[in-house]
Amino acid sequence: MWRMVAIWLVLSAVLDPLFYILVGPHVPPGTMTSSAQQNQFDFNILLVAALPVFLAVWVYLAYTVVMWRASRKGAPEPVGGAQARTHLGVQVGWIVTTTVIVLGLFVFGTVELIANGGSGGGEGPNPIWTPTSATILPVQVIAQQWKFTYRYPTFGGFESGQLIVPNDTTIAFHVTSLDVIHDFWAYQLSIKADANPQQDDVAFTTTRQTGSVTVRCDELCGLWHGAMFNYGKVVSKAAFMAWAKSTEAGNAANTKLLPPFAYTYVPDANGSDGGYYPDNVDPYSNSEVYGAKPAAS
């Protein structure tokens, strides 16, 4: 018994730091955004916690099948009776240990979720855990079979087929769908939010590095679900402002007819003011925040 514990302790003490130091920094989704960094950290913490559990069971099973197999010479004869049926200390110890681990994981997960502004997951139309940054760039992600379109409400609501966002900026992704349920998975940004028809799903992150981004649909959406992906970029603030301003100007003739923020392209039959778009959708409430104030300042 103590031999098993010793093997387990040594293995855990060696493998846990080895994993954390050698593998941990390379664990997906990388370090490109705040949510990516935090989710990588959370994954590593869970793995460091899980590894000793794996090792405990594996060491025990290995020891069992080697030492206590019937064919081994000198294997002990099994003992039945009351002492083999129950052991109060082991049972209580097991239950207390698993409960403590589980509650610890729950507290850790909840703290990380709240402290990190939702960790990049979709928080529905009314997010309650939000980043503290004063300037937030809203980007509307419009999913449809089988493509993503990105709309920039604070730049006149122009649309782009490519996701381009500035570095060192907190971004609010407003994910919606025009038809079936999709899922916006910006892998390197560590953003994942379902795109539901006629509903807003908000997810936050803060970019930390420039680079390219893969966007994939992560919810089965029909025939070409497998081909529903595109690529984006995180660029410097200056490059982003230059691109956004020029695209805004280039699209001005179109965007002046369109609302900067809406959940649907479909004309609303109930629109009381004769507008093409649902009149119950307000313009984005923080619309002045990012575009009006140059990011560089």
Binding site: F54, V90, I128, S190, L220
Partner: protein, 663 residues
């Protein structure tokens, strides 16, 4: 508790072989050519389908055609529903209720020894159990072939064997067939076969319901297969709603199929739950019933309580397609979240329907091959019930990123992680039983040990998925896919095959070949892990589920997984070869108790008589008194049987029992 007092209350059963054979009193004996079997069921299904299809076109031609398909959803639904009805009518499920309606009384059932009874409606739980074995294996191998198709397509990231429509139809069909199969894979064959024998009963509580549950299960198999003839359906097994509403005729097969399977699940669940509660032999107290029976009872609770949600949701979906309602259509006032919640409210208990019976099986196998009592029996029973109870409170963890109310997420993270406490009990019991044991590596034991290896990986990765921040990375990716294949296939299917190798000698009276069994196990175990472990990495590296195109850099891992999957698929051929060889071609008769088990089901002769027990046994002890000196025997089987001394490795004579012989 005195034995004589219990003997006095014993019920006298009719002669096991009554002279009058089946049918109904007042009607002449049915001629042979009018007998009902698989063939008449097929004829009934075809006629029913044609009638229903025609009716559907009559009542709703024109306005319910699915867009751009030339397909009438009402006609398909009508065809499928009446087809199922015709199938049940043809096999004879409805004979009894219909005859009772016109006042005819059934004659007692008879014992048939002809092999044709496996092709007929029968109320013998042992025949139904074996019918289920063949049924779930057909289901499993169909789904497995589709999996081979998926892995073939994923050999290359960009050049395709199938078109995207075919691929998504294969993926959906694979998922749905496997899920449907897995709901019954243990409850159906082993649950029906073993539970009455384990609790000392002569039959289940509702033998006709039991027969119904099997034949509607087979009807469900045909219905879900019919989706392929309508071009398949694109939603995966989850059937998410706006896509479901948009889909073509194959979607009706999915909705009707799940409703049909759901009825069978509820029927099987009610029957076994009532059997376990009411049909236990004298002395079979709650602390003596085998742990497998506890697992089936917990599963039955889930089957009966969770499945109605699925049937209701399927009904809403059918109405959306046929009667133009808008339960799931957001634009018309419905909600896509409604389906997600209804589906997962069923869907999560469902995955424990697929886990608990597996635990029950390995807990039956472990004591026999360790020659030790089951460690912490009460904790094991508590684990089953705890998991069953908690499984109703975790369903929204499938919707963490879906845009649900965000403050619900910590709650569901908590409930999900809490469920790992009773699941951890499984390991306490398993590892405790192995402690200082004398392990015999017979084939069933190999499968049981493999469950502990596989399910550990499946369960621990579940903790990663339950953590909302980490879920952002892994949700909907191949990581999830690997996780649930590790729990369902690595847990349930391994336990199922372990259970088959363990109990088939009793069920069929033939010995399975040990060498082939070992080959089957090692190929299956090694290549199961080589198939699915890389999928954790594939998922972490960013490959979503159900895609036919993926990043170039993931090809090596995908190919590795695919090739392993082909060998994994081939391992089942070894099983089939073993099954056919050992049971049909060169049968070796099995002894009545080849493993020296103390379980009540092993104390019967082989083949087990029609009425199971000559006398209802009086249970004296639980069946786990291995390696114990002077233990009280498990049961008094009456004059014809033998008393089993628990400490001995083989059944002992009556004289060796420390108690005075009964009567």
């Amino acid at each position: 508790m005195t034995l004589t007092a219990e003997r006095e209350t014993e019920v006298v059963y009719p002669d096991p072989t009554p002279p009058v054979l089946g049918g109904f009193q007042g009607l002449p004996q049915r001629p042979g050519w009018l007998s009902q079997h698989l063939g008449t069921a097929a004829i009934g299904a075809v006629l029913g389908y044609l009638l229903g299809h025609w009716l559907g076109n009559v009542v709703a031609s024109g306005y319910t055609n699915i867009a751009n398909s030339g397909v009438n959803a009402v006609a398909i639904t009508g065809g499928l529903l009446l087809g199922v009805f015709g199938w049940l009518l043809g096999i004879g499920v409805l004979n009894y209720p219909l005859a009772k309606m016109v006042g005819l009384e059934p004659r007692p059932d008879y014992e048939s020894t002809s092999w044709t009874r496996y092709l007929r409606l029968t109320v013998d739980h042992k025949v139904v159990g074996l019918q289920y074995v063949i049924g779930v294996l057909a289901f499993l191998f169909t789904g497995g072939l589709l999996a081979m198709g998926i892995r073939t397509e994923l050999l290359s990231p960009s050049s395709h064997l199938f078109g995207p429509g075919t691929y998504i139809a294969i993926v959906s069909e694979h998922g749905t067939i496997m899920m449907m199969m897995a709901t019954s894979v243990i409850v159906g064959p082993l649950g029906n076969w073993l539970v009455p024998l384990m609790i000392g009963a002569r039959r289940t509580a509702f033998p006709r319901v039991e027969a119904f549950s099997f034949w509607i299960f087979t009807a469900g198999y045909l219905v879900i297969l019919s989706a392929l003839f309508y071009g398949g359906f694109p939603t995966g097994w989850t059937g998410y709603a706006p896509l479901q509403t948009q889909a073509g005729g194959g979607m009706m097969s999915y909705l009707v199929g799940f409703a049909v399977i759901g009825l069978g699940m509820m029927a099987a669940g009610f029957n076994l739950a009532v059997t376990i509660i009411n049909y236990r032999a004298p002395g079979m107290t709650w602390s003596r019933i085998p742990i497998f029976v506890w697992s089936i009872l917990a599963t039955c609770a889930l089957l009966t309580l969770a499945t109605p949600t699925l049937v209701a949701a399927g009904f809403f979906g059918i109405l959306d397609h046929t009667a133009q309602t808008a339960f799931f259509v957001t634009e018309h006032g419905g909600s896509s979240f409604l389906w997600e919640n209804l589906f997962w409210f069923f869907g999560h208990p469902e995955v424990y329907i697929m886990a608990l019976p597996g635990f029950g099986i390995v807990f039956e196998i472990l004591p026999v091959f360790t020659r030790k009592p089951l460690f912490a029996y009460k904790v094991a029973a508590a684990a089953m019930l705890g998991v069953a109870l908690l499984s109703f409170f975790v369903w929204q963890h499938h919707l963490f990123q879906s845009g649900i109310n965000p403050d619900m997420r910590p709650l569901f993270m908590l409930t999900t992680e809490l469920i790992s406490i009773p699941t951890g009990f499984i390991y306490l019991v398993g590892l405790g039983t192995l402690y200082k044991a004398k392990i015999k590596f017979e084939v069933p034991m190999l499968f049981a040990l493999a469950l502990f290896f596989n399910f550990l990986i499946g369960g621990m990765t579940g903790v990663f998925l339950s953590d909302v921040p980490v879920n952002v990375t892994v949700h909907g990716s191949f990581f999830v896919l690997a996780h649930f294949h590790y729990t369902i296939m690595g847990g349930l299917i391994f336990a199922f095959f372990g259970g088959l190798y363990f109990w088939l000698p009793k069920m069929t009276g033939k010995t399975m070949n040990k060498k082939l069994g070992q080959i089957h196990f090692w190929i299956m175990f090694i290549f199961f892990n080589l198939t699915f472990f890389p999928m954790f990495l594939i998922g972490l590296l960013g490959q979503p589920r159900r895609v036919f195109e993926y990043a170039q850099n993931l090809q090596a891992l995908n190919d590795f997984s695919s090739v392993s999957a082909f060998i994994l698929g081939a391992s089942f051929l070894v099983f089939v070869a073993n099954f056919v060889w050992s049971i049909f071609i060169k049968p070796t008769p099995a002894p009545a108790n080849p493993w020296n088990s103390l379980g009540l089901e092993w104390q019967t002769p082989t083949p087990v008589p029609y009425y199971n027990f000559e006398r209802i046994p009086v249970v004296l002890n639980d069946p786990y008194h291995y390696s114990e000196e002077n233990a009280v025997s498990v049961a008094d089987l009456g004059e014809e049987g033998v008393l089993v001394a628990a400490g001995a490795s083989s059944p002992a004579s009556v004289a060796e029992d420390p108690r005075p012989p009964a009567r």
